[in-house]
Symmetry: C2
Subunit: 236 residues, 2 copies
Amino acid sequence: MSRQTLSNLELFRGLPTAALDDVLASATARSFARDFRVFNQGETRVRAHVLINGWIRISQSGSDGAQIVVRFIGPGDIFGAISLFTDRRYPADADTLTEATEVSWSDRALLDLMNNHPQIAINAVRIVGQRLQEAQHRVRELATQRAERRVAHALLRLLRQVGTMTSRGFVIRFPLRRKDVADIAGTTLYSASRILSSWERAGWLKTLDRRIAVESLSELMRIAEDESGSDITTFP
Amino acid sequence: MSRQTLSNLELFRGLPTAALDDVLASATARSFARDFRVFNQGETRVRAHVLINGWIRISQSGSDGAQIVVRFIGPGDIFGAISLFTDRRYPADADTLTEATEVSWSDRALLDLMNNHPQIAINAVRIVGQRLQEAQHRVRELATQRAERRVAHALLRLLRQVGTMTSRGFVIRFPLRRKDVADIAGTTLYSASRILSSWERAGWLKTLDRRIAVESLSELMRIAEDESGSDITTFP
DNA sequence: CGAACTGTTGACCGTCGTCAAGATCTGTGG
DNA sequence: CCACAGATCTTGACGACGGTCAACAGTTCG
């Protein structure tokens, strides 16, 4: 874990070298296997985490078992950190989707760092603010758009965040089950399956080993944007 | 605008007197009439606002005209401030529901204040973090619960935030149109009207001059919590 | 090789969005 | 104070979107 690595993280951007040394001094690094539960919703020994590499899924479930995927965490993202400032309980579950390594800080350590280096706190406001805007956008989407379009948006968002160009088209870099897609788009496993199948039939994407490869971005974007629903892609 | 007032605001909590003087020095106060547009979605001359008294509705609309109410702002709440850190455009509209007075700071001034007094930035992280959690809770609600329960939750949330006990029951302190209720709960004007009417018929609440008075909190809570939908309150 | 997980598809039908018509309320100008 | 226009609310009718259940096919892994 070098200062260089650290200064590339959005949370620690713009800090002088001395500050980075402070940050390093109180950091704890850990590694996880795939499919490992990093923390549980409701747990109280909260820390502020930054993912160094790998992928993590943050998901939240209600008392009735209904579940949503809150977001996917990739290299450089912070996670589990907001709870330090609110009720000091993780508001969601975190599971690794791949092998992963992270660095974390105790609540006390992070607060001290912020007090000594205000830029860290300002960075945090920016990061959390962006997520708030995303969340509100998602609220509007759920309240006003239908399932097919929400799935299209969800895929496009993922592609933008974690897409990579390959010979097979734009591929989402980690395995996604139908249930994951459903929990991201706010629909059911069944509807998600139907929608993705119909798109596969239309030749716009393929799934190989749980990894979704989009071949025709433009069609996806059309569904995401068009006012009128498409006719080809509706339910059989 | 006194230091005392200032130190009661969540954003400036825990600051030494000297810091409060700094804050005051760069503040600008304004007053608005009822039904005044404080800022528009997309506008770029952003400032950080704190409402001193009155009520403001923050709402967001998509390119298709679909609208949601993001939140209601009451005395002491900050608003329009997150955009300072992200894309420097207001992400929503702000309208006064009553006469109102606010204080605001320029982006530059707020950043300077945060740099000089890290506690302000830490307070901001806490505030924005709470809103993020609320937004995510709302996402789950929209994705998993049906309209009637969402309306019940919306009213309960409003009562908790801005309810007051009167002889007529618990009253929401500002006028709410059916359309507002719909935009909060993520449903349509028609469904909201039907649901509220059915509750009026059941004697659980009344609307007088756009102000909703809940007489039977417990029934509302039952609808909000129950796993199985009620039978009396479903659509006619 | 069987158990557990994942994905697909059909059938059914309830919730709730949409449209239309009318009632009621509110504010403005004569 | 009345008249009238515009906003707001209520209610009915209709039907489609999509949630739910069931059955089964493929995969994965101990």
